[in-house]
Structure formats: C-alpha cells, structure tokens
C-alpha cells in the first residue's frame, strides 16, 4: 500500500503521519490524531456530524481526503475550549440544552462558529439557514438556534 506523508496543524499542533492517499480527513483526525470528537454520521456530506474548520471555514471532513488538507490548519471540537475555558458556543449549547445525544453536536458547533464569524448578530432565520447543512434528530433544532443566538449575544 503506497503511503504519503501528510502534515496538518490540528488545534495548533503539527501532526505528520504517513497515510494512504484515500484516507479521509475525518479518519486522519480520529485514528491518527486520536481526536474522536469529530464524528461520522453519513459519509456523504449530508449530516454534518464530521464538520471541522480548515483555515477558519467549516468543512465536512468525511468527504475530504487528508492529503487535500496537507499544510492546512484544522480546528476540531477539541480545539474550541482554551485554557480550560469553554468557547462561547459550547457554553451556550450547555445552557440552552442545545444537545441531547450529543453525536451531531461537535459538527453543529463548528458550523455555528463559522456562522457567527460571518454574521456577528444573526437573526433566528439566518441561524436556521446557516445550520441547514447539519442534521440533528434529537433536539428539533429550536434549542440549538437558541444556543447560537445566545452565543452571538455573548460575543
């Protein structure tokens, strides 16, 4: 099996591994970097559970090869909290009961972070449309929208 070296800065730390060219970014993060907070829900970019940020943009890591992210800077859910302080979006999801089973939550929050970077004070409608690439089957979304709204207020 031919492998190729891939170097990705993940949550501020350089990760270099020899990987197959077909290795998906999500598996690079989960299996090579031991960052299992990023989840696989559909393998087709529909559910968004695998959402991470590359260069500040939310992307679905289940349909991106690790080699495509070579040299990039990736942030996963594990990189949101800083110095033991939860990120505003994490705090808001907690306070608003924005999660139940928690499986979609890391991807949902990574999308929300970019949404708030793009629109500082989004309307509820803008939030709902901004989250359309992320599926949640537990909450019915209302508490998630509450959480993003609260995080926007906290910024």
């Amino acid at each position: 099996m031919t492998t190729t070296p891939v170097s990705i800065e993940v949550n501020g730390e350089l990760q270099t591994h020899e990987v197959e060219a077909r290795l998906l970014l999500v598996h690079f993060l989960r299996d090579y970097c031991d960052l299992t907070g990023t989840h696989v829900g559909c393998e087709t970019s529909i559910c968004g559970a695998c959402t991470v940020q590359i260069g500040g943009k939310a992307v679905k890591s289940c349909t991106l090869f690790a080699v495509q992210a070579d040299g990039e800077s990736v942030v996963t859910v594990e990189g949101l909290a800083r110095d033991g302080q939860l990120h505003a979006i994490q705090q808001a999801f907690w306070e608003c009961h924005g999660l139940q089973c928690g499986f979609c939550t890391p991807g949902m929050m990574m999308t929300a972070v970019q949404l708030l970077a793009d629109i500082a004070k989004p309307t509820r409608e803008q939030i709902a449309h901004g989250l359309k690439g992320n599926l949640c089957r537990c909450t019915g979304y209302t508490h998630i929208i509450d959480a993003v709204e609260r995080a926007a207020g906290a910024q």
């Binding site: 990023t38 559910c47 139940q100 499986f103």
Partner: protein
C-alpha cells in the same frame, strides 16, 4: 398520591451534567473505542430484494492485504442462534432469521458474508472483493396483494405471507354491531401510515471482546437495551448470561432503532471468540437505511359509528401491518399498541381492531418513536376531523363532547385500558388560549378572503407510557435501581434505565439529591454497563423517568429508614424523634449529616444492634398500571398555491406529563418529538420500488427535517399527577411525535377543505398537495367534499377565558 418537592432541584430547569464531555468532544461512543489487536468487520449485503445465492467466491477477498478471514452463512449459521422475537404473539409464524443468509436473501441489505481485517479500509476492500452470484426471484412488496390468494410468497417455506393475525375488541361484539346499526351515520376512511427510517445520527456499531481466561465476553454496543441484549444474546452465541457484560457507552440517539438485538451484535461476538481478537463493526449510513429497523407502515380501513349530535359510538378497524422480511425484537407488538390506543381520548362504547402482519421483501419494521401510538393517534384524530366535517360540526366541539371529564378518571376505555388521570378539557382550553384561538380564526378568514390556502388543526392526544406492568409485557416491565451513599457521604445512583440522550444523569441526580438532602454535585448517576447496573429493562416507551426514577426513590427511602436508626443511635435519641431535612437528622438540638453517618455505617464500630453495615439499597419497581400523558397541539399552516408547499406558521403545544422533574429537558423532548412529526407529515417516506429496491438508501434520498423547517413554538403544560407512582410523573419521550402528526395533518387538510379535498395520506409533500389543489381529489382520485359543504364554517369562536386551569409553566 403525588408528593410535593422535598428540595431545591426537582421541578427546576437545570443544565445537564452529561454535557461538558459531549460539548468538548470527550465522550466515548462505540466508534471511539480502540482495543489492542482489534479487528474490523465489514458486511457483504444483498443488492436484491429476493434472490437465490448460487455461488460465493471469497478467494480474492481472503488473500487481500490485511484480511484475516471471510465468513459466509455456511461457516457461522450452525454456531449462532436465530434472531429473537420477544413480542407476545402466540400464532406468529417465524421464518428463522439467521445471522447470515442461508442460500437465499429476502431483502435489500440482507447480510450474505462478513469480512474481517486489520483495519476498516481493508475490511471494506475485502467485502467488495467477495464475488456473489444471485439468481433473482419474484418479489413481494405490496402487503395488500401479498395476502390475496395465489400471491407470490416472501418465504415460500412458510406457505403464506401472513405472519400473524391479532384482534382486540370490547367484550361483546354483538354490541359493536348493534351500535353500528343504530348509528345515524357511519364515517369511513382508509389511511396509510407510511414507512419511516428512524435515522439516529449515530449509526449502530459494536465492539466484541472475548476473554479466554475467564471465558467471558464483553460487548460494547450502541443500544438502548444493554440488559435485554445480555438476556437474549446467550441464545445466539452460547455464552451464558453471567459470563456476558454488555456496555452501552455514549449512545448517539435511538428512537427505537436500537431497541433490538441485531445479527451484527451476535456475529461480532461469535467472531471475537472464534478469532481470538476483539472485533469492531461500525454501520455505514447506507447499511443503516437498509438494515436497521424501519417504523410505522400500516394500512388501515377505519369506520366510526356516530350520532348526528356528534357522539362517537363505536370504531372498527382492519389494519395491515407490513412487517418486512423478518420479525425483529418487538415487531408484532407495534400494531397491537395501535389497537390498545385506537379510541384515543374519547368515550367510545365499543371498538374492534383486526391486524394482519404481512411479510414482504423489505427490512423489518419495529418500534420507532411512539411505536404504534402515533399511528393510533393520527388515525383517530384524523377520523374525528372527518366526522366533524361530515356532520358540519366544529372539530373542537366534537372533541369536547366525547372526552371524559376529570371526575371520570380512572377512565376505563373501550380498548380495555384504564387511563390513570386526565384533564383533557384543561389542556385543550389552555392550548386554545395560548393560540389566541379566536384571533387565529380571524386570521384564517382574512387569509381565505385574500385567496390564500390557510388552515388550522387541532389534536387532543393521549398516549400510553411507562411501559409497563410486567403482566402486560413479554419480558418484565419493572425497573431496577441501586443507590449507595459512599464512605465520603456522597451518593452513587445506578439505574437500569439506560438513557441515550434523554438526560437522566441530570434528572435522576435531581431526584436523588432532593430526597437525600445533598448538593447535586455530590450525586453521580451511572448506567449502561451491566457490570455496574446489574439489572434493568432499559429505555423505550417513555418509561425511564417514571419507572427508573421511582426505583431510585424506593432505594433512597430504604436507605433513609436504615440511616434513621443509625442517626438515633449516634445522637442517643429515639428514631421517631428525628426530623430529616437538608441531609441532616435532627432531634433535641443535636444533628448528624451524611459526612458523619456514612463513615459510621462503613467503619461499623459504633452502630446499633443488628445494623447491617453500609448504606446501599437496590429496588425493583413494578408499576400497577401504565401512565397516560395527554395534551392538545394546535397548528396553523399556509400553503403556497403555486408550489404546493405547506409552511407551518404557528405551533402550540400543551402537554401534560404530570409533575416535571426538569422542565428544560421536558421541553427538549417535546420539541424533538414534534420535529419527527414535521418530518413524517411533510417529507419523510421510506420508499421501496416494485422490485423491492430501496430507493431511500442514503440521507441524500431521505428528507429529514432541517433547522429551517422548524416553526417557532408556543409551549405550555398542565400538571395532572398520575396515581400510579409516588412522584406522579408520566413520561414525555414520545409525546411530541404522538401529538403533532395529526395536528399538522389536520391543519393542512383544513387549508385544502375549501377545495373539496377530504383526505390525503402522508407525507404531504409539495407535489402531493399541488396535485390535490389542481384536482380537488384525494390520493386515490375520488371522495371529494360536496360543493355545498365546502363553505360550511368549520371551527367556531371558543370561550377561552380564565376557566379553571391547573398551573403550568407558560
């Protein structure tokens, strides 16, 4: 009798203790487990709905890099038992569901072979290299045609497609026929409850590890029912129950789809023993859509006998349940729950329901959120609207007229159940008030004047929860709990109800902290590992908080009774002199708390005579009855005439689940449930084509609700305690899904009423609505509402003043 709160936590909206690990990516779902030497399994599945497997060549797969082994049916079926069905259905014809196909496949996704390799990519490569020759056979997909004489057979060996027949009726059927003969009118409607895919965002998966020294097995599996799996797995793999440990780690949603023992769990366990290494399998989404249970899929003909004044007399139903190719764990029980709830919250004098379960070449149906009750509520709430239409009465008035009053509880239904408590009028009035009902009717009138298609819908629902008394359940309906006040004076609470997102680590801590008089930070709730939570009946049927919570209350009461004697001994007073408050026993100006009591109980030097050391108690709670939560939901929809798209513009939910432990979590459960209904009413449908091919085989093809599909909610509650348990609680996990489906459907049908459309089956997609707008006809091209009736006023202004309402959280 329900007790009032004893402390600061129960009844308070609190954020969850489980969340910090979940929001930081620190939780451990089954796919996050890595064991030394772990192998990975990948399945080869049938692309045909029905075929003979004429040849399997796995040579290339076996010699591929990293591949350890490939197994086909002949390699494993003699070593593994068949998939169990635990539903109580004596006449069930069960076609022996083996772990891998035995020469023949019966549905798309039927497992034919399994490849095991050192990494998951190699395992998938190997599965693709397995060469299977299929000889396609005729396919059974239409359950109605399947029971006609001379039909093709799903399982030729059974000689019939009828899996089971089941009937429920009110005692004397002659009375039913008499009521139908004496009725002023008989209202008939055929309705279809479409097949749905539960779609937990975490697919299924498991890791099995066999410990040769101990001859014991550990299975980590994404399941709602670790305890039932532990009880049933021995029958499939031969390891005794007391050598099996099941762990449900973090579970990413279930909705009934993980309320099962599946072939993959048994086969991975078998292979871990056979190969001497841990075996992991993680379901792909494609597998999840094809090979994890589906829900609903009933076709019913319903007849209601009514009087011209709106009195509902009797109801009859003939229901065909498409159960797919095999019964899974509870498949036959789902339509029986529909039968038990057929009469909804109405005073029918008699009912009869005949169910035929039919095999087809599809994946099994089984319990999906609500499991038979959404079907019952949908059909009865649609029927009440159709009855009101035919009688030119206000649907709200028909509901009021036929509902039992609070003084009529406990209320014996025509289906043979005893509803524990209820105030249906209270919830209805409150919902009308929150909806500003009369303003809403004005808004509808204005919209219609402007030529818009605008409708309102109401549903008054009742559900059966806290499943259930053991006498009514096939495998015990009790729940187990254990509470230990540790040496440190902090408490460990262990529950046999295994939550998978509902939040019982928080709500059970609230219950325990209040009752023990401890700070909530001092209480830890454990669950999901059968080596820790030794017994349980797990989480389904909105049972965990009612049954699991009550078991914990019973444990704590045992501990408090015991601790009272210890406290009396330590303080040198009589036990009866002691008061217990804030975690301290006090008398005569002296007091002692957990920090003193717990070490004394464990050091056991200064204890009363015959005092058993330690502070631990376990309990099995056996309920006397189910609980029957209820409520009223109201929706308003506007339909785009050009596209047929229905948009929910207002949604009101008033739910009564008894006293609420944590209103924030109750709200989350209701909102999540309503979203499932929005999906069922407007988008979702699992589609097999005539060849039995699964058309909705990926999330790209199956329309789940997204954030922008959700309307703003106005939510309220009423509180009618259940007499069936000490906290008076009723359960809320499925309420939203049960209440909302008919509400939204009724609103859409109200919007289409002026066009003459009587009934459309779900889902009410833009295309279906658009076609109805063009034709004024129902799905089957007939049954228009008479022209003269279309302008009849449906719904009238209601008095929603400050009538006697119980306190809620609006």
């Amino acid at each position: 009798m329900a007790e009032t709160s004893r402390g600061p936590y129960v009844g308070k909206s609190m954020k969850r203790v489980e969340d910090p690990r979940l929001i930081q990516g620190l939780a451990t779902y089954v796919d996050d487990l890595r064991l030394p030497g772990m192998l990975h399994a990948a399945f080869v599945r049938s692309p045909y709905a029905h075929a003979r497997v004429t040849r399997i060549n796995a040579d290339a797969a076996r010699s591929a890099p990293g591949v350890v082994a490939v197994f086909v049916g002949a390699d494993v079926n003699q070593s593994c038992g068949v998939v169990p069905c635990a539903a109580d259905m004596p006449n069930l014809k069960n076609p022996q569901h083996r772990v891998l196909a035995d020469g023949r496949v019966y549905f798309v996704g039927h497992a034919v072979a399994v490849a095991v390799a050192r990494d998951p990519y190699a395992a998938r490569d190997a599965a693709l290299l397995v060469d299977v020759d299929y000889e396609p056979l005729p396919v059974v997909t239409d359950p109605e045609r399947a029971i006609a004489s001379g039909s093709l057979l799903t399982h030729p060996d059974l000689g019939t497609n009828v899996a089971f027949e089941w009937s429920l009726s009110t005692g004397d059927e002659a009375e039913l026929e008499r009521l139908f003969r004496s009725a002023d009118r008989i209202v008939r409607q055929r309705m279809l409850h479409q097949r749905l895919t539960p779609t937990a965002i975490e697919p299924r998966g498991c890791v099995a590890s066999y410990h040769r020294g101990e001859q014991s097995l550990t299975l980590w599996t994404s399941t709602q029912i670790p305890h039932l799996v532990r009880t049933l797995l021995p029958g499939m793999i031969g390891v005794p129950e007391n050598k099996i440990r099941i762990v449900a780690p973090e579970v990413g949603g279930g909705f009934g789809s993980k309320l099962n023992l599946y072939i993959e769990e048994a086969l991975c366990s078998h292979l871990a023993m056979r190969l001497g290494a841990p075996v992991k399998w993680i379901e792909t989404r494609r597998e999840n859509m094809a090979s994890t249970i589906h829900g609903r899929d009933q076709i019913g003909e319903y007849e209601v006998a009514v009087k011209n004044d709106g009195t509902l007399l009797a109801i009859k139903s003939r229901t065909i349940a498409d159960i797919g190719a095999y019964p899974q764990l509870l498949t036959p029980a789902v339509p029986t729950l529909t039968g038990l709830m057929l009469t909804g919250c109405y005073k029918f004098k008699a009912m009869k329901m005949d169910v035929i379960g039919v095999y087809t070449n599809k994946m099994s149906t089984d319990a999906y959120r609500g499991a038979g009750r959404p079907e019952a509520t949908y059909l009865i709430e649609r029927m009440v609207d159709i009855v009101a239409n035919e009688l030119k009465m206000d649907p709200v008035q028909v509901r009021r007229l036929n509902s039992p009053k609070p003084s009529e509880f406990p209320f014996a239904t025509a289906c043979g159940l005893t509803y524990d408590s209820g105030n249906y009028e209270g919830a209805l009035t409150k919902a009308l008030r929150i909806a500003r009902w009369n303003d809403l009717l004005d808004r509808r009138a204005r919209a219609r004047q402007e030529g818009k298609l605008f409708g309102v819908g109401v549903s008054t629902y009742v559900e059966i929860c806290a499943l259930g008394p053991s006498k009514a359940m096939s495998a015990g309906g009790w729940e187990w709990g254990c509470v230990r006040v540790e040496f440190s004076g902090k408490a460990t609470v262990i529950t046999g109800s295994t939550p998978h997102g509902q939040g019982q680590e928080t709500s059970f801590a609230q219950i325990a902290a209040d009752r023990l008089g401890m700070p909530i930070e001092d209480v830890v709730v454990l669950h999901g590992d059968t080596n820790v939570a030794h017994y349980g009946r797990d989480t389904y049927g909105s049972r965990a908080t009612v049954l699991g919570g009550t078991a914990i209350v019973m444990c704590i009461d045992k501990i408090l009774a015991k601790t009272r004697t210890l406290a009396a001994h330590m303080l040198d007073v009589k036990p009866d002199d002691l008061t217990f408050e804030g975690g301290r026993f006090s008398a005569k100006g002296k007091s002692v708390g957990w920090g003193d009591l717990a070490p004394a109980a464990y050091v056991a030097k200064n204890i009363p005579p015959r005092f058993e050391p330690g502070l631990e108690a376990s309990s099995f709670f056996e309920p006397e009855n189910f609980t029957f939560p209820f409520g009223t939901h109201i929706a308003a929809v506007e339909i785009d005439r050009e596209t047929g798209e229905a948009r929910i513009v207002k949604y009101v939910a008033v739910d009564d689940c008894g006293p609420q432990i944590n209103p924030l979590l109750v709200e989350g459960q209701v909102q999540g449930g309503i979203a499932h209904s929005i999906g069922q009413v407007l988008f979702e449908r699992t589609v097999y084509d005539e060849q039995g091919q699964l058309v909705t085989g990926e999330l790209m093809d199956y329309a789940l609700p997204r954030a922008h599909d959700i309307p703003p909610y106005e939510m309220g509650s009423t509180v009618t305690p259940s007499p069936s348990n000490p906290m008076g609680i009723k359960g809320v996990g499925e309420a939203g899904t049960i209440g909302a489906t008919p509400t939204i459907a009724n609103a859409v049908m109200d919007a289409l009423y002026p066009l003459g459309v009587r009934h459309l089956d779900l889902p009410l997609t833009p295309e279906k609505i658009w076609r109805a707008i063009q034709s004024g006809a129902d799905d089957r091209g007939g049954d228009r509402i008479p022209e003269a009736d279309r302008s009849a006023p449906r719904y009238t202004a209601a008095d929603v003043g400050d009538g006697a309402l119980q306190v809620g959280n609006v």
